[in-house]
Amino acid sequence: MHTTHHMHTTHRARRRLPGLLLAFGFLLPLAAPASDSTPDTLDLDRRLKVVERTLEIQREDDAAKARSASQVSASEKGLSIKAANGAYALDIGALAQIDARFYIDQAGVSDAFLLRRLRPVILKGSFGDWVAFNFSPEFATGSGVSGDGSTASIADAYLDLKFSPAATLRAGRQKTPVGLEQLQSDALIGFTERGYTSELVPNRDLGAVLQGVVLKQTLSYALGLFGGAPDGRDLNRINADNRFEIAARLFAEPFKNDYGLWRGLGYGLGGSYENALTASPSNVNDALPRYRSPGQQIFFQYVNGGAPNNTVLADGRHWRLAPQLYYYNGPFGLLGEYAVSRQKVVLNGTHAEFGHQAWLVRASYVLTGEDVSYAAPIKPRRPFSLGGEGWGAFSVDARLEAFAADPKAFDLNFADLGKSAKNARSAGVALNWYLTSNLKLAADYELTRFDGGAAAGKDRPNEQAVFSRLQLAF
């Protein structure tokens, strides 16, 4: 029995053997060791290694190129081209301000649209570590309506030699370092036009300034020599009176490096001194003031009959002082300034010296909570976009300001009370809509009351100026 079972088992195994051998043979290549790779596999391996090494070299080359390549970027700050080491850079920005001006119940003054500032190319850059430049051509013709003559074709054009943060020599056409509101960027002032204190300090002039920041950047200083611009204006001619003006400013931010409540406090003093002369009535505007209201109407100037014997001329010493301060904390900002401009003049052989003064307080508040500051634009957290949810940022500004001419100017007939007001007081409010950090819509209303300035010494009519602006700046 056992033998028969064994014979059956052996017979079944023999019948299955070919199949088993076949199956085992099929499995053999799968179980073969790696050293028996075919030529195709070796070739693939070589190719793969070449590809990997080529990619490695490409990455090394790309990294080397990136380290030495210039960087070009376009952003909300404009177009920037920078060398890999950062020493050579060119930034291209622009400023465009299109205004609409309306006057309420004001005879003799036209409502108008105005291209207030048009600087399509603002070039700033650096050559190496210590040379920088700024070039901003101006294609707009000034504040327009009352023909103030501010027709500069170049806004800024200067070179900086940056010896250190504590000492930079700036030479060229630039803002004279005196007034706080005047020195604030044209794109950042809360109202469409600056106030009375800016009317008493010089605007842009041609000269050289040594400036810098010291004491861990808590104190900035500037000391400059200029041709001498009239109050509130640019220098329009190359130093017609052959006299130079010294301008200086000190500004402290003692808590700048702290993180407390007073971090945003700054205060200082600016001033200028020159001996200005006017040779003839044809260039009185180079040295003597013509003060403008918030509505940009000239409300004070010295008598000018067109002839030497009936025109007030500049006659020597002219100094200005402008104590100033600001405070910024989150969405709240406050700027205050006082300015006095005292100047010797002569009219038909009569010599005199008059001091005019003004003060200004401006408060700002960003309703949407973004931070406001003196030197940086408001950056909306949720910029406006068509179809999007963001509405940008909104701020309100309020301004109180006053101007007082020296009453002696009228007493001595150097100014005509029938044409020039002796006092002006203004109150205004502005609403700014920052759609993006580059695009702003603004509207402001300012009421001004005058003392004098109309025929027979009556008061000039109140001015109600409603100005609006569309601004693109980067």
Partner: protein, 329 residues
């Protein structure tokens, strides 16, 4: 008394001129180990001769890149680069030294020479013995890019010259040879050390065309059990030159020191170190003592092609021979 005072003043002045000094040697890639050994010996010799100390800083990198760095303002007192055309660029483009700089030191300002050899896998499985073997079917050759590497340029010139020599001066056959050779190059590194990485570390290629001293460094660093050196019968006479960069040496007050440093490279002491690092010394006595360490090879001179300046323009300039054959690869 007066003459004594004058002498004392002169001595004081001369020692002040050689007060502790710094020298910058901008060199090409493979010489790191060489100058690490040479510089302390020169400093000791200088101290002995003048009583003054000198510190020598060395910058290493691809020869072409180093020349560019000097042109861009790296204030090298001396340049010890891989090929004369890189120093010619300093003279022509940067006006940093006179155009006839090569005549100022012996042997065309080349205190050591070298050549191009083959590095093969151990056992030489592909039986690579000479230049024609590099064109065998399936062989992959690793060599640096001659547009960026001095070693790459010497390798190209070696290949071209030997083909020209073998064909009895037939430029078409020489051109055909290099065209076929570079078709077999799978990866072109920008420098000699990159090619060493490709061949020795990444395992790519069957043979590496290398500076002779680099070949010995590969065996030392990666193991003589993995690679072997094959010296062809014919190769190129590679002459890495040295030069004082006059403009910067004068600016630093280092002219005399810089010249003394380079002249010292021709001294027996320096030549011994050069030989020990597998650069071929130019001093005949030193060369004779080390003859057994340098296999015989007929080294062809680039002067047969019109000189380095001409080959730089004709072979490696934009649109030159290398661009033509590589574009058709």
């Amino acid at each position: 008394m007066k003459s004594f005072a004058l002498l004392a003043a002169a001595l004081a002045a001369s020692s002040a001129a050689f007060a502790d000094a710094h020298l910058l040697n901008v060199s090409y890639d493979p010489t790191r180990e060489l100058y690490q050994q040479l510089n302390p010996l020169f400093a000791a010799d200088w101290q002995k001769r003048t009583g003054s100390a000198v510190t020598i800083d060395v910058s290493n990198g691809g020869s072409g890149k180093q020349a560019r760095a000097i042109l861009d303002g790296l204030e090298a007192d001396v340049a010890t680069l891989g090929i004369a055309s890189d120093i010619d660029a300093l003279a022509e483009q940067g006006k940093l030294l006179p155009r006839d700089w090569q005549k100022r030191l012996p042997q065309d300002s080349a205190p050591y020479t070298s050549t191009i050899v083959f590095v093969a896998r151990k056992g030489n499985p592909k039986a690579i013995h000479d230049w024609p073997d590099l064109l065998q079917s399936g062989i992959q050759v690793v060599t640096p890019n001659p547009k960026t590497s001095a070693g790459g340029r010497w390798a190209f010139l070696a290949a071209y010259l030997q083909a020209l020599h073998a064909s009895g001066g037939d430029a078409n056959k020489a051109r055909d040879y290099v065209a076929r050779l570079y078709r077999a190059v799978p990866v072109l590194d920008s420098g000699a050390r990159g090619s060493t990485t490709t061949f020795a570390q990444r395992g790519i290629g069957d043979v590496l065309l290398a500076w002779e001293n680099e070949a010995h460094l590969i065996l030392k660093e990666f193991g003589a059990e993995r690679f072997e050196i094959v010296v062809p019968k014919v190769s190129v006479l590679a002459q890495p030159p040295v030069a004082v960069v006059d403009k910067y040496a004068q600016k630093h007050g280092n002219e005399k020191l810089a010249e003394a440093y380079l002249r010292w490279l021709y001294s027996p002491e320096a030549q011994e170190v050069i030989a020990a690092n597998f650069y071929r010394p130019t001093d005949p006595a030193v060369a004779a003592r080390h003859a057994s360490e340098f296999p015989p090879v007929e080294r062809l001179n680039v002067s047969a092609l019109g000189g380095i300046a001409k080959v730089q323009k004709d072979f490696f300039g934009d649109g030159g021979l290398f661009d033509q054959i590589y574009a058709n690869k």
